[in-house]
């Protein structure tokens, strides 16, 4: 009977071993599958984190001066000793686009980082040096870098084009397993976009008017009285408060090249190759100015030797190194641009709005204001950003505006009752719908009177069109094979 007991034990043991092997095999397979699922999921999360960072920072770039951002520096911790390409090589150009080294992105636990080896000073960072935590092990970094825009300086933007790269990571979570033999890693995703700021409206004067000729908006003259001032010198340090206070601090050489800036009080523009260009318009304006009024039109450039600072600015636009400037000649492009801008306006006003007494943005919070038709601004109020009016714009009383004003569509601007004015730039053009999806330019109307002041400010104009979203030229997911090896 003892032998019988032994046989039972043997059978039970064999069965137990077989079942244990079977169980272990199933557990092993399940663990492998679990690990692979985790990695696929984390890979997706890392890409989504990178996309989130890309979108957030693309939007944040709206209000940024690209050159200032390229020149800004951020301290970025370096945790690992990784190989770097030789500075100045093509490989280095690409390496510099990525916010942090991919090797660090894959390995470091950024929630509990190790002691840093060094701190790098990096240009163009849009996020803190240790990234933006998205919670649950997600994090992203983003930076911009300049394209080769011909100036040999990767911290200065000339053409409005920059690269934006966002790197997202997803740390493997607690309780998750990896197929890396137990070493915890991050999944990494990189998104790159080439973005362009549309610089069509980078004006060169305090008052730019486009058309074959001009008509008075109210009364019988374009100008009335001699209390207004149209000042085409640059006023880089002036603020909205200075404008309201009547302080006028200008410079004749804002770019510091030793020559007077290429700016004027009034630019008359009309693209008529082989014809008169803006001469007819310029002559009409000049003929309307009395001697006393002409002395109030100031600036660096003039077709009349001094005052008025009035010129046919067509060739200035035509020969502008800014490639977008010539878009101004195309009414269809301009109206398309206006139409897109209206889609992202912070404030939309219907035709016939009397918005006197209301503020429309401030220096601290500039905004896009779009009026679908006639609009009246006035009272002791102010605004900042970009203002687009499709109908007639009446500027009255103590209203002050800092930024860029576009009066297009009807192209009718009446400043006869204003006693403060504009710091930045004003563009007036009448556009006519051809009915076939295209537009052409007509004859605009304006009246300048009262104590109106127009102070040109290049940065104010830039602040205005800088509120518009950047144009996306390209979007791609970057994987190792797309960057040159080093």
């Amino acid at each position: 009977m003892k032998d019988e007991s032994g046989a039972a034990l043997l059978i039970v043991t064999i069965v137990s071993v077989l079942l244990a092997l079977l169980g272990m095999s199933m557990i092993f397979d399940s663990m492998t599958e679990f690990s692979m699922s985790n990695e696929l999921e984390n890979q997706k999360k890392a890409r989504v984190n990178a996309e989130a960072g890309y979108s957030a920072q693309k939007d944040a770039l709206r209000v940024g001066n690209l050159t200032a951002l390229l020149q800004s520096t951020t301290l970025v911790p370096r945790y690992m000793n990784y190989p770097v390409p030789t500075p100045g090589t093509t490989a280095d150009d690409y390496f510099q686009r990525t916010p942090i080294a991919p090797l660090e992105a894959m390995n470091i636990d950024f929630e509990n980082p190790p002691t840093r080896m060094a701190t790098l000073t990096v240009n163009g960072f849009l996020t803190p040096g240790d990234g933006v935590s998205l919670g649950d092990g997600g994090r992203y970094w983003a930076k911009i870098s300049d394209n080769d825009d011909g100036d040999g300086d990767l911290t200065s933007d000339v053409d409005g084009i920059v690269y934006l790269r966002a790197l997202g990571i997803q740390r493997i979570g607690a309780g998750q397993m990896t197929t890396y033999g137990g070493t915890v890693k991050n999944s990494v995703g990189i998104i790159e976009g080439v973005l362009k700021r549309d610089k069509t409206l980078e004006l060169n004067s305090s008052f730019t008017i486009y058309g074959p000729d001009a008509l008075p908006s109210s009364g019988t003259n374009l100008f009335a009285g001699a209390a207004f001032e149209i000042d085409g010198y640059d006023h880089p340090t002036m603020t909205l408060a200075d404008l309201v206070a009547g302080d006028d601090v200008h410079t004749t050489d804002a770019d510091g090249d030793g020559f007077p800036d290429d700016t004027a009080g009034i630019d008359a523009i009309f693209d008529d190759p082989g014809g008169a260009d803006g001469e007819t318009l310029r002559n009409t304006i000049n003929d309307d100015l009395t001697v006393g009024q002409a002395n109030n039109v100031l600036g660096n450039q003039s077709d009349y030797g001094g005052t008025p600072s009035l010129r046919d600015g067509t060739d200035v636009v035509r020969n502008d190194p800014n490639p977008d400037a010539r878009n101004l000649f195309d009414a269809t492009y301009l109206m398309g641009f206006i139409s897109k801008t209206s889609a992202v306006a912070d404030l939309k006003l219907p035709d016939g709005t009397n918005y006197a007494g209301n503020n429309i943005g401030s220096d601290a919070a500039p905004q896009i204001t779009y009026c679908a038709g006639d609009c009246r601004l006035g009272g002791s109020a102010s605004g900042a950003g970009i203002l687009i009016v499709r109908g007639r714009l009446r500027f009255q009383a103590a209203f002050a505006y800092h930024g860029l004003i576009l009066v297009v569509g009807e192209g009718d601007f009446d400043m006869s009752g204003s006693n403060v004015g504009i710091l930045g730039g004003l563009f007036v053009a009448r556009t006519i719908d051809n009915g076939d999806g295209t537009w052409s330019y007509g004859t605009p109307s304006f009246t300048v009177a009262g104590n109106s002041n127009f102070y040109f400010q290049a940065t104010g104009v830039g602040m205005g069109f800088g509120l518009l979203p950047l144009k996306r030229l390209t979007w791609r997911e970057v994987f190792p094979a797309l960057d040159p090896p080093y």
């Binding site: 009977m1 059978i11 069965v15 077989l18 079942l19 079977l22 095999s25 199933m26 397979d29 599958e33 692979m36 696929l40 890979q43 997706k44 390409p85 090589t89 093509t90 490989a91 690409y94 080439v194 549309d198 897109k340 889609a343 992202v344 518009l468 979203p469 950047l470 144009k471 996306r472 030229l473 390209t474 979007w475 791609r476 997911e477 094979a481 797309l482 960057d483 040159p484 090896p485 080093y486």
Partner: protein, 219 residues
């Protein structure tokens, strides 16, 4: 008589035929039951392995194809626009070519030839820029060609594209495609031991072409 001796004397008389037959029968029944459990378990394991394998294949295929589709139509230099090349060419049933200028060819830092790297260069000559995806229904496999030649990336599955326009309607017009709905149904080769049916897993995804996404300032 010594009691223990008496016991052995009693035992030494041997087993009766009936005892042996009964013992063998019990053993056969027990062994059969154990073998049956083991057999079932093995099939179950095999079945699980099969479904895991096809699931991973389907996921990998979905991931790869989605990644290429997202970038379809990337055209910073205007090459596709100037040559009237759509982001996605419909070459046949579930046979597409994904066109995107996403890279260029910059000099290699190493001695190794560089197939593709750098910024988009206004051509579709580099790897990853003309990606062909073809589902072979007769072989139930998915082929991918990134520029090296066609490779099978997944087997035992059905793969179905549905092309959608900006309003979400199905379209066969290449120029109207804004989104692509992908459905992958992966099936195991062997039948499930208990249900004796083919096991399958279905994955669905909808990919927005970034070059066609709603962005009023894009292009």
């Amino acid at each position: 008589m010594n009691p223990s001796r008496a016991f052995f004397n009693t035992c030494s008389r041997g087993f009766t035929l009936a005892e042996i037959v009964i013992a063998n029968a019990v053993l056969v029944v027990a062994a059969g039951a154990i073998f049956s459990v083991f057999y079932q378990s093995q099939h179950s394991l095999k079945s699980q392995q099969d479904i895991l394998e096809v699931t991973q294949q389907a996921r990998a295929a979905m991931l790869q194809v989605s990644s290429y589709l997202r970038q379809a139509g990337n055209d910073p230099e205007g090459y596709l626009r100037d040559n009237n090349i759509p982001p996605i060419e419909l070459l046949g049933t579930n046979y597409i070519r994904i066109n995107s200028d996403i890279t260029g060819a910059v000099p290699a830092a190493s001695a190794e030839p560089l197939d593709a790297a750098g910024n988009p260069d206004g051509t579709l000559d580099n790897l990853y820029e003309r990606v062909e995806v073809r589902y072979d229904a007769s072989q139930e496999c998915l082929h991918l060609d990134i520029g090296y030649g066609e490779d099978v990336v997944a087997e035992n599955l059905s793969f179905d594209f549905t092309f959608l326009d900006i309003n979400g309607n199905v379209t066969a017009n290449e120029d109207d495609i804004v989104r692509v709905h992908i459905e992958v149904v992966a099936e195991t080769e062997d039948l499930h031991p208990l249900t004796e049916e083919v096991q399958s897993i279905t994955l669905q995804s909808e990919v927005m072409l970034r070059s066609r996404s709603f962005d009023v300032f894009a292009n």
